[in-house]
Symmetry: C2
Subunit: 327 residues, 2 copies
Amino acid sequence: MTAVLGVDAGGTSTRAVLVDTDGRCLGYGRAGAGNPISAGMEHAASEILSAVTAAIRIAGLAATDVGPGILAMAGSGVNPDAGWIRSALVGAGLSGDVELRSDLLATFFSGTFEPDGYALVAGTGAAGIRVRNGVVDLAADGLGWLIGDVGSGYWIGARVVRDAVAALDGRAAPTALTGLLLDALGIEVGGKHADGRPAALLAVTDAVYRLRPVELSRFAPLAFAAHGDDAATRILAEAADALARLFGAVAMPGLVAPLVLGGSILAQDSVVATAVMTAADASGLVSQIRQVDDGVVGAAVLALRSAGVPVDAAVFERITGSLAGLR
Amino acid sequence: MTAVLGVDAGGTSTRAVLVDTDGRCLGYGRAGAGNPISAGMEHAASEILSAVTAAIRIAGLAATDVGPGILAMAGSGVNPDAGWIRSALVGAGLSGDVELRSDLLATFFSGTFEPDGYALVAGTGAAGIRVRNGVVDLAADGLGWLIGDVGSGYWIGARVVRDAVAALDGRAAPTALTGLLLDALGIEVGGKHADGRPAALLAVTDAVYRLRPVELSRFAPLAFAAHGDDAATRILAEAADALARLFGAVAMPGLVAPLVLGGSILAQDSVVATAVMTAADASGLVSQIRQVDDGVVGAAVLALRSAGVPVDAAVFERITGSLAGLR
C-alpha cells in the first residue's frame, strides 16, 4: 500500500485525495455530484470513480497501489451499506476496501486533528455535531428542507423568495429582494394579470414551482447582496440566531474544544458567520474556530486513522499543506 | 329551465346545488375531491358529476330540467377552459352549459349578495380578494405552500412540526406540540438512534417526509389544541398577523363593505379568526363580517346572476334558508 484514499462526496461536487502514511497528498481529483441519495447510485458511483481515477493519475500511481479508503457523505448514517461504491471501485482495479463516514465528521477533521470538538455546516442544508473520541457523539438538525435545516441556504433562499413576493403582492413593505429576485430569474417588471396583480408575480411563482424545493437555496446569496435592506437584514439575523441555537444544541458544558465551520453560509466570512462565531466564543466552550471549504482533508484524516496511522499536529499540517499545492 | 346549477369543487370535497329563479334550493349533493389540478381531470369530473346527479335525484328533476351552471374552483383563473367538465355533464344528459369561476368569489357570495366587498379564505392555503361589481378586482396571496399561503393550515401545520422537532432536537425549549405531534403520528417516546438523538425524532422525520408537503396542514389543529403553550401561541399570533396583512393588501380606502371569512382556519371562531376580525374591524373598511363553511351558496348566486336573475336580500335569504333544509 502506497497511499490511503479519502473521498468527500457532496450533492454538487466530489473530491478525492490520495495520502501516504506520513500525511503527504500524492494526488487529488474532482468530479460532479457524488451523493447516491440525491444523484442516484449509478451516477454517484461514476462521479466518485472519476474523482478517484483522476487522483490516481495525478499521483502517478497504479490502482493497486491504493490502500483502504473512506467515503464521507451525507446520509451515511441512515444507509451505511457501501456495496454500491465498493463494486464500482473493484471494477476499476482498486481493492474496494472503503467505508462510509458522516460528511459532518469529515468537515470536523478538515479543521482539526483533535478527537473532540464541534462542527457546524450550513450549505444547502444545516446540521451540527459534537465529536468525542473521533466519532459523532451527538448530531442536531440536518432534518431537511421541509421541517429543519434552519439557517441553511435553503432556509435563507426560501425566505428571500417569500419576502420578495409578499412585497410584490402588497402584503409587505417594498424590499430590495424583489428586484434582485426578478433579475436573478430574468423576469421584467410591468403588466397586470387577471386578478389585478403584477404579471411579474405570476412569472416568479411559475418559475419557482418549476424548481425542486432545495433549489431555492440558489437565492440565498441575494440576502447577502441586499446590503442594508430591512427584510434581508432580518432574514440573515434569524439565520444566525438559528445557527447559534444549533451550536447550543451540540455544545457540552466542560468540553472546551475546536469548532469547525463549513458550508457556503459559514465557510466564508459574512454577517451570519461572524454572528455565529461571536455567539460560539461567548459560550466559553470553544478553544479555536476554523472555517473549511469542504471535507476532503477530513476524509484523508479518517482514512489514515482507519488504517491505524495516528494523525497528530505534524501529520495534519502535512496533509493540509501538501493538498494546497495540488488544488 | 327549472333550475340553475351551482357547484363548489374543492380539493377535499365537492358540493352541488340546484336553485330555481326565486332562489329556492331544489336539490343538494356532495362528493369527493373535485379540483382537476390536485385530483386530476378525470377523477374531478367524475366526483363533480356524482354531486350533480345526487342533487338532481334529490330535486326529483330530469337532467334536461337543469339550466346553465357555475363551477367554482381554485385555479379557474389560470385554466379557464371548462371543456373537461362540459363533456362530462353532456355525457350525463345535461346541457353542459357551465362556466368556471374563482372559488374565492364563491366564498364571498356565500356570505353576502352585495356586489362589493372582501373575502379571506384560510384552509390548506390562504388567499384574499377584493370584489367590485361582482367580479374579482384584486387578489392577494394564494401563491401556494412553497412561497405563500401565509397563515394557512399548511403554514401553521408546518410550523407545528418544525417547533415540535426543534424541541426534540435540543434546539428549542420544550413545547406541548411535541407530545401532540407524536400522538398524532402514533410514535412512542424512548430509545436513542445512532447520532445520540431520540429515536422518536427519526420516526417523525420519516413519517413527515412520506407526506406531500400540503398534507402538513393536518397538524394545524395541534396548535389550537395546545392551549397556553408558548410555541403554539406564537404560531397562531403570527398566522393572525399574516392574515390581517392579507386583508390589508386587498382593503381599499373608501370601500366600506362586507368581509366574508372562509376555510377551516377562519370559518369557525378561534383565536386566529377573532384576531383577524378585530384587525379588520379596526380598519373601518368593514360593514359586516360573515363566516361561511364553503362556497356552494355563492356558486348558486353566481349561477343565478349569470342566468340574468338579480340576487337581492330576499333571494339571498331564500337560497341560504332553503339550502339549510337540504343539508
